[in-house]
């Protein structure tokens, strides 16, 4: 293989494929390099949720704008991505959480989001199977336009659309090294040959850190194994995703009828170990049946692991770095990449193709960690 491209994207997950589509649409010659198959990393293992209720302004903005894109994405890409807006119900358990929820809701409303704080007795109006006493909730926030989509179908739809516009997508191809000349990137060396290019996008998820080390850039990304499970298919019971920051649990019912959810594993450690644990299953089942006792009769079918690529402030790393020119970051999503990918990629595509920057891109640049304290995202689950 001896190729060249305007842009090489490392990683065939949701951001890699979305960015390939947007850049191809702008007329650039794009190649995606994926070491396994599309959506084989965090995208394919994720909980599929799309939430706009965040504590930091950047995440809320990215998510609100992404939902606007998700709303028209099936028709734009010509494939059903199974986007559904059943809302997100965020349980509130303590007075401290209530104060934080009030701050979050005020900020989110200032951005135009429709979101409300519900009294405890209203929770079952949204999700009838909940046991409000069992889950020890004193209220909840609810945003009806949050929802979920099928991460595989969304990634495949972006990839197909990108291919139709001329992008090359190489699966089962690993990056071995990055080439630089005179302080700028000049190529990507893969196990199938070298691709010459002036722009490399690092969208390698949990492997983004190793990719950046190839050009001596240190990314503060730590891998965390996360577990998730799916039940058998059931008749439609509820539309909303239920989450709790206190318990760390999240669960929703997907289009096919299965309930999918996760919770942090007790005694969680960072690292690349990917085996599922019984501790997770036991902890998840106990918490889930406390939240919705009727589910104790439901069969759990499958249980798998994926990775969060966690940054010190749980916010993504986006845009250029101080180092080789043309080396663009699109990583560190810390467990919420899928839901903000449409807008993140739109901003990055504008930067790469048209040299347009934005407030969000500047705020989420790697340079924010240089001796400064950063605004941490607090609304994290799983």
């Amino acid at each position: 293989m001896n190729r060249k491209a305007d842009v090489v994207i490392i990683g065939g997950g949701i951001t890699g494929c979305c960015l390939a589509y947007l850049l191809s649409k702008k007329g650039l010659d794009v190649t995606v390099v994926e070491k396994r198959y599309l959506a084989s990393g965090a995208t394919g293992a994720c909980g599929a949720g799309i939430r706009q209720q965040w504590s930091t302004r950047e995440n809320a903005l990215l998510a609100i704008q992404s939902v606007k894109i998700f709303e028209r994405l099936s028709s734009e890409l010509g494939q059903d991505i199974e986007f559904r807006q059943g809302g997100y119900l965020i349980a509130i358990h303590t007075d401290n959480e209530m104060e934080q929820a009030e701050r979050n809701v005020a900020m989110q409303r200032s951005l135009g989001l429709k979101v409300d704080i519900l009294e405890p007795e209203r929770l079952t109006d949204v999700v009838p199977i909940l046991d409000v006493k069992g889950m020890k909730a004193i209220g909840a926030t609810f945003c009806p336009t949050d929802g979920h989509a099928n991460p595989f179908k969304t990634t495949f739809a972006y990839a197909d659309a990108a291919r139709k516009l001329g992008a090359t997508i190489l699966t089962h191809t690993s990056v071995v090294n990055l080439k630089t000349t005179q302080k700028a990137v000049s190529g990507v060396v893969t196990n199938q040959g070298t691709i010459r290019t002036p722009v490399v996008v690092n969208a390698a998820g949990v492997d983004a850190k190793a990719i950046a080390e190839m050009v001596h850039i240190h990314l503060p990304i730590t891998p965390f194994r996360k577990e998730i499970m799916a039940t058998e298919r059931l008749e439609p019971l509820f539309d909303a995703m239920v989450i709790s920051f206190t318990d760390g649990i999240y669960f929703s019912q997907q289009k096919e009828g299965q309930i999918v959810g996760g919770i942090p594993i007790p005694e969680e450690h960072s690292g690349f170990l990917s085996t599922p644990t019984f501790e997770f299953l036991s902890h998840m089942s106990r918490t889930l049946t406390r939240y919705a006792p009727v589910l104790r009769h439901v069969n759990m079918l499958r249980h798998w692991t994926g990775f969060y690529d966690v940054t010190p402030d749980a916010r993504p790393l986006l845009g250029p770095v101080k180092g080789p020119q043309g080396f663009i970051q699109c990583s560190g999503f810390s467990g919420h990449g899928f839901m903000i990918s449409p807008m993140v990629c739109q901003l990055l595509a504008g930067f790469i193709a048209d040299n347009k920057t934005s407030e969000v891109l500047e705020t989420l640049n790697l340079s924010r960690f240089k001796g400064k304290t950063t605004d941490r995202e607090l609304s994290v689950v799983g």
Partner: protein, 92 residues
């Protein structure tokens, strides 16, 4: 219309698998994610050998060379109430 069912859990026919392969989904993991084969209660016991056979016919790759998708525990469905039970120690 006559359909040859490959995956009973998710109601996927041979024709669906063939069409997905035509569309370029030639990795068994990709097919799984595209069609949900192997995601039902049987965990692929019924469909995956058949899908591997269809892949062999279409792509020429030998069944023995086609990797089986990652195993997702448990091997049989288990009620959440059983997993949530705190009686393990008394039983043993």
């Amino acid at each position: 219309m006559k359909r040859s069912i490959v995956c009973r859990c998710e109601d996927i026919a041979e024709e669906d698998v063939l069409q997905a392969i035509e569309e370029g989904y030639t990795d068994i993991e990709e097919l799984r994610k595209k069609l949900r084969i192997g995601m039902g209660p049987c965990q692929g016991r019924v469909c995956l050998p058949l899908v591997a056979k269809i892949l062999e016919k279409k792509t020429g790759e030998k069944v023995a060379q086609i990797p089986t998708p990652t195993v997702r525990p448990p091997l049989v469905p288990v009620p959440l109430g059983t997993l949530a039970s705190e009686d393990d120690e008394q039983e043993s």
